[in-house]
């Protein structure tokens, strides 16, 4: 039942002992996945089997994967071990991070519209804005994410090098995030993901761990070369985007409830003087993703150590930007997302609203959740919809019983 209370958008109901999700309210944040102990909520992901249809596979790990192991294990080792677990190729995204950040920095500087701009890399935050704050859609930076950029490019490169069709190449994301999988599986006309699937970090962890141990022993990763940028690693850090763009007038917010709070503030116009807001649904950004293994605080330390290890505090000088000539900005990338209701009868709707209010006024307002709805407000909605009965509230039923007990006369019948 922990999920009932944790859901930030009140999308979960418990009916006859089973948790049920209202899909039209869900924002794919993964909070329920994080807290679920009974296995009722499982993220939508792929397994290795799903990719057997591809002739050639490329794995692209999230930066969070680098932080999941012992501090002495460097990204190079992780990447080459990942390759050994059964992929034809692995690709690192840090170079793409820098390209994306460069373009983003320019975009923020040249932007003339209503401030603040909002980062669009967290799919959950994007979905919240699409569903609940459609007026803030223009504030989202319509930029392609580094993982997508890397996926697109590695696919193109591999297809040219091997002279095979792009459809035969499977690009797989190693993800800490359940929301990303939803994005990958969704294809809209204007914009679709270059990935063919995603495997959670937790799913691959054991296999990868073994492979890493073997690699460390044999030291055969010494011959491999991965073009990793230490500066690009800042992308995964909380507050890293503002830092990388050198944007001092920016704020960073993480954790879904904080995000909702800040969006309310933006809506009220309180943050008009801030240039840029970095938003993450999970605390500590992607390091806090529900499908990570290592705890988020240790992962954060690992990431800091890695950044220090590479020792790059700014965009590496003299290195050619690999994706310099690419167009990374997609106009109208995000569109409002809500179910298109047919024209409603306002009179009936208003009547329903007052009915809800009336029911709500009778409730104890302690939000105990015993009825299976997360709050008294949602309970009132459910009663008004006819899904529940007002007597499903245990406090109300208790009061009725007590009333009856008071009037009950003790004594033998017929006396």
């Amino acid at each position: 039942m922990a999920c009932l209370k944790i859901c930030p958008v009140e999308a979960i109901r418990v009916r006859s002992g089973k948790a049920k999700m209202l899909e039209e309210k869900c924002i794919d944040c993964g909070e329920c996945v994080k807290i679920c102990k009974t296995g009722s909520f499982v993220p939508l992901t792929n397994t290795f089997k799903d990719f057997s249809k591809f002739g050639y596979t490329i794995a692209i790990p999230s930066l969070a994967l680098y932080t999941q192991f012992d501090r002495n294990i460097k990204p190079k080792t992780i990447l080459s071990s990942l390759k050994k677990t059964g992929f034809n190729e692995v690709a690192d995204i840090t170079r793409a991070c820098i390209s994306v950040i460069r373009t983003m920095g320019r975009y923020v500087k040249e932007y003339k519209g209503r401030k603040p701009l909002i980062s669009s890399f967290c799919p959950t935050c994007v979905k919240i804005i699409q569903m609940r704050y459609p007026e803030l859609i223009d504030n989202l930076i319509p930029i392609i994410s580094p993982m997508e950029l890397t996926a697109k490019e590695s696919k193109r490169e591999a297809s040219a090098r091997l002279e095979i069709d792009e459809s035969e190449i499977g690009v797989i994301y190693i993800t800490p995030c359940p929301s990303k999988t939803v994005i990958i599986s969704k294809k809209t006309e204007k914009y679709y993901s270059a990935f063919d699937g995603a495997i959670p970090v937790s799913e691959i962890y054991n296999t990868l761990y073994d492979a890493i141990q073997k690699t460390v022993k044999s030291r055969d990763d010494d011959f491999e070369f991965f073009d990793i940028s230490g500066f690009g690693l800042n992308f995964a850090r909380l507050g890293g985007l503002g830092f990388m763009m050198n944007c001092d007038n920016s704020i960073t917010v993480s954790g879904i409830n904080n995000v909702l709070y800040i969006l309310d503030e933006i809506e009220k116009g309180k943050l008009h003087n801030v240039d840029f807001v970095e938003m993450h649904g999970c605390t500590e950004a992607c390091l806090g993703g529900p499908m990570n293994i290592e705890n988020v605080y240790l992962a954060r330390t690992n990431l800091h150590n890695l950044i220090n290890y590479y020792g790059e505090s700014r965009i590496p000088f003299g290195k050619k930007d690999k994706y310099e000539t690419y167009n990374l900005i997609y106009e109208n990338m995000f569109e409002p997302e809500y179910k298109d209701d047919v024209n409603i009868d306002i009179k009936k709707a208003l009547a329903k609203r007052s009915e809800r209010k009336k029911i709500y006024s009778e409730l104890p307002k302690i939000n105990c959740g015993a009825c299976g709805s997360p709050t008294c407000k949602t309970f009132a909605e459910d009663v008004a919809e006819g899904e529940l009965n007002i007597n499903d509230c245990i406090i109300i039923t208790n009061n009725i019983l007590e009333e009856k007990l008071k009037n009950f006369e003790f004594g033998m019948p017929g006396e």
Partner: protein
Amino acid sequence: MEQEILYNKIFRIVGRDFANAGTVSVKIKKILKEIGIKPEVVYRVSICCYEAEMNVIMYARFAKMDFTITSDEVIIILEDEGPGIENIELAMKEGFSTATQEMRELGFGAGLGLPNIKNNSDEFKIESELLKGTKLYFKINLN
């Protein structure tokens, strides 16, 4: 023909009250959302209300916002006590603003307020008397 008023509420807005800026438009948005009005319409109403509210907060002393829902439109009448607008035609021009440096620092005063309301509403009227106040009337169709 007069339409039947299904819902009516009057909000008060106090000038220079930056701490509570935007609360009225958020309240209106919430009511519309609760009724289940199309998000697209809610979006337009809340933009209009927000701009109108900010105008009051920045320039006027006090205002009364009359918010009405009928069976097929949302009507908002905003009457304020304030300095009034000297040249309405100029105020309707995009980019024209009389905002002070202080307001600009807060991120307002881009000169898009009134034009934005006009663009997002289906009917728009403005009357103003210098040194007395401004009356704003706008209507948004629900369907």
